[in-house]
């Protein structure tokens, strides 16, 4: 196996942008064109299985160059090796080896079968060892990976245990851990065009329900349910209007998805018309997209935090009730002073979704 490791330093660590995870996902999507087996190790680090890509893309250096070109939005370091450890190490070493610290992209390729000889001279501190193990290595006078690799395996196991054995295998350039390809986030989308453009909400509602049904029916057969829905209204002589709804619980009920989206849409339109005070443009097309697909049956509530799951269920129910009966009709009893002498002072009603108190006042 040949593995390409890609590291984007600007997307890693605390100095990374707040949307680094989303940017990283976009980069991985681009890399899908290169190889079907990509593992996202962490935000800013990806492993790509490049075995057998030569006939299509040329030499390994060309494959690496292609990957860097696809993902050359941010500075990137690339390394190729026989396994994930060697590839990641190569990407780590590339900066020191190239000597050019200002280059946006750099690549180091460890030739096949030469992992052990390449590592022999490298300091043992590059191994992912616990500080205590590292200290013991220095107590034994082990300073390079070659020294550790040359010891009998049984002796290393006796002194350092299973962790030591694993580190010795790494020092020998061996890493049996396979690549775990990521599953590309699936997104289902459909568009309904209106000829002539729609004006009333009835037509939009019907079209939205039909669109939701057409998308959720095949999902139900695959035991998948969307966790997020996005509705886009394309308007005449106006920019598109988009509302996104993160469902508190994956659902395949098209009716609820449509109702919740319409409720969000109405709130959005109300706020916009209140600000602009102009006529709503006609709708030329409606787009519905569902993503964050998960298996609804596999959802597991936390074992020791029953309240978390119950509140999630409650929020979901409240959202549906609110969408059906309108806002301002749901109240929550808050027990402020349960030991108060007068009953009307023990609790009060608060409208759900607002901070203001209503109903019973003290």
């Amino acid at each position: 196996m040949r593995v390409l490791a890609l590291v984007w330093p600007t997307l890693r660590g605390e100095a990374a942008a707040p949307d680094a995870a989303a940017l990283f996902e976009a980069l991985l999507d681009r890399l899908d064109d290169l190889s079907p087996r990509i593992e996202a190790l962490e935000v800013g680090v990806a492993l790509v299985d490049v075995t057998g890509l030569e006939p299509m893309h040329g030499s390994e250096r060309q494959v690496a160059a292609r990957a860097v070109t696809l993902a050359d939005v941010y500075p990137v370091r690339a390394g190729i090796g026989d396994n994930r450890w060697l590839a990641a190490l190569a990407a780590r070493l590339v900066r020191a080896r190239s000597g050019d610290t200002t280059a946006r992209a750099a690549c180091l390729i460890l030739p096949p079968g030469e992992g052990r000889s390449t590592l022999a001279e490298l300091p043992i501190g590059l191994l992912p060892a616990e500080p205590a193990v590292r200290d013991r290595f220095s107590l034994f006078g082990l300073t390079s990976m070659g020294q550790l690799a040359g010891l009998p395996r049984s002796a290393v196991a006796a002194q350092f245990g299973a962790a030591g054995e694993r580190l010795q295998a790494l020092a020998r350039g061996e890493d049996p851990r396979p690549l775990v390809p990521r599953r590309r986030p699936e997104r289902l989308a459909t568009t309904v065009r209106f000829e002539p453009p729609a004006e009333g909400t009835t037509e939009i509602t019907l079209a939205l329900r039909r669109a939701a049904t057409s998308l959720t029916d095949p999902l139900r057969g695959r035991h998948l349910a969307p966790g997020r829905a996005t509705l886009t209204l394309h308007r005449e002589a106006a920019p598109p209007l988009t509302v996104t709804l993160a469902l508190p619980e994956p659902t395949t009920e098209p009716d609820w998805i449509a109702r919740l989206l319409l409720a969000r849409l109405e709130a959005e339109v109300r706020s916009r018309t209140a600000a602009a005070a102009d006529d709503e443009p006609r709708i030329t097309a409606l787009g519905l997209a569902l993503d964050r697909l998960t298996n609804p049956a596999a959802r597991q509530l936390p074992a020791f935090e029953p309240q978390a799951g119950r509140w999630e269920e409650l929020r979901w129910s409240l959202e549906r009730i609110g969408a059906r009966f309108g806002t301002g009709r749901l109240w929550q009893a808050v027990a402020d002073r349960p030991t108060a002498m007068l009953p009307e002072r023990q609790s009060r009603l608060v409208e759900i979704g607002t901070e203001t108190a209503g109903g019973q006042d003290e």
Binding site: M341, L342, P343, E344, G359, Q360
Partner: protein, 84 residues
Amino acid sequence: MTRLHATHPLVQVETDAAGAPIRLRLDGTTHGEVGICNRWRVADDWWRDPVARAYFKLVTRDGLLCTIFLDENRGTWHLERIFD
């Protein structure tokens, strides 16, 4: 299950010589043969807005179970709670 009437609507109450309710009129209906299940007094907030109430938990012949109180500061009767 009970319904708390936090606004304390006024009720018309007929009392005996000792001041205990014997008949009450609620929502246009007169409920007689009142039996007193319990009674207690609440005195609170004497340092700012004094509250003095004489509570009665009543059951009527037609099955109404409720809590009413006499606001001793104003001399008015109020409904507080109806039990299902």
